[in-house]
């Protein structure tokens, strides 16, 4: 049971964003821009950053959702499987490895981001804006993970739930559905 009264058909972050729509609006807008806006990082790469941070924070809801989204965007599961276990040996570019290392440092603390990890990213070809966005995506998921777990929201165990959610965030994005979420009452039973 969540610590506050949330709509029971809306697990994880969705119930929270519906609970307080006015604070949800800028959070949604920020996420939509960072994960779906114009960027030299692909949407799959950006979802992978979200997934790595959520996994480090042990937030099962966010990790499962964003890993499913990354897999859908990348068209395979191998990259996320390996990256979540070990960034150094993951089948991604050296630049992406360096950015994932920065994200993992941000997750620990802003102060853990050293000149060395920044220099490594730049040496691998990361631009200033890619480093900026990596830091802010990682920081944003430190917000999300704490929001979701700090209020003890419901975490579905049915993999199909996350497939549906991934489909929504891949094909619709992070803005609020124009029709709201009442239609989910039919499909989710907790």
């Amino acid at each position: 049971m969540p610590y506050i009264t949330l709509e029971s058909h809306l697990p994880g972050i969705t119930g929270l964003l519906e609970y307080r729509k006015d604070s949800a609006q800028p959070i949604r807008e920020l996420t939509q821009f960072l994960l779906r806006g114009p960027s030299s990082l692909s949407e799959g790469e950006r979802e992978l950053i979200a997934s790595i941070v959520s996994s480090g924070n042990e937030c099962r809801f966010c990790t499962t959702a964003h890993t499913a989204a990354a897999n859908m965007l990348l068209g395979e599961n191998e990259t996320s499987d390996k990256a979540l276990k070990d960034i150094a040996t993951a089948p991604v570019s050296d630049k992406m490895k360096a950015l994932l290392v920065i994200a993992a440092k941000v997750r620990e603390s802003g102060k853990s981001v050293t000149n060395e990890v920044i220099a490594a990213a730049k040496a691998a070809g990361a631009t200033d804006i890619e480093i900026h966005d990596t830091v802010l995506i990682a920081a944003l998921f430190c917000l999300y993970n704490r929001y979701v777990d700090g209020l003890d929201t419901f975490t579905p165990t049915d993999p199909q739930y996350y497939e549906n959610l991934a489909d929504r965030i891949v094909h619709h994005g992070y803005t609020r559905l124009p029709e709201g979420y009442d239609h989910l009452k039919k499909t989710i039973s907790s």
Binding site: L16, V106, K111, I129, R146, Y147
Partner: protein, 183 residues
């Protein structure tokens, strides 16, 4: 020096905000709703205090001084009082409800899973509402983002703490939304 070339010499979060206005806008709107919007049963001072305390726990000099100064402004106290809360809020002259909310905020700072049912029960016993608990968790989580953004990019922070106190009345007056980063 910041880790990336921000093309400006603004302190703290204002540097990356001026660098990336597209993300600055929702970040400032979030701060406005959570910290300054008057449609809230927690005072502006209470909410700034939560932000300052979490920033202190994250050791973010810029944020803890900006928001400590904001709390000081709204609470009409001195810096010594704010510093006392940071060092031991349980011994400070604040309400028991605020103490229970700061305890929740401190747990959020460590990680979402550190927020126990016992901490929530304690806050509810002090008559904290669901919305107040929600806002406390979200403010604390938001500062775990802001602090990491500020320090993760290696921005610089003026060391004279009085500068932050001097700026607080203007920020209180003008708010966060539509903030002129250069002023």
């Amino acid at each position: 020096m910041a880790h990336i070339n921000l093309n400006n010499d603004l302190p703290g979060i204002r540097g990356p905000m001026a660098y990336r206005p597209e993300t600055a806008k929702p970040l400032n709107e979030l701060a406005e709703i959570l910290l300054r919007d008057d449609n809230n049963t927690l005072s502006r001072g209470d909410r700034e205090l939560i932000g300052a305390y979490v920033s202190y726990l994250n050791d973010c000099f810029f944020c803890q001084n900006v928001h400590g100064a904001m709390a000081q402004h709204y609470m009409q106290c001195d810096m010594h009082f704010i510093d006392g809360i940071k060092q031991d809020f349980t011994a400070a002259a604040i309400s028991d409800k605020m103490k229970s909310l700061l305890a929740i905020a401190a747990a959020v700072q460590k990680g979402g899973k550190h927020v126990t049912a016992a901490l929530i029960d304690q806050a509810k016993e002090q008559e904290a509402t669901d919305t107040e608990i929600h806002d406390t968790v979200l403010i604390a989580a938001a500062f775990c983002m802001f602090n990491r953004y500020v320090d993760g990019l290696g921005t610089f922070a003026p060391q004279d703490r009085q500068l932050y106190v001097n700026r607080a009345p203007q920020r209180a007056e003008e708010g966060y939304a539509g903030l002129d980063l250069y002023k």
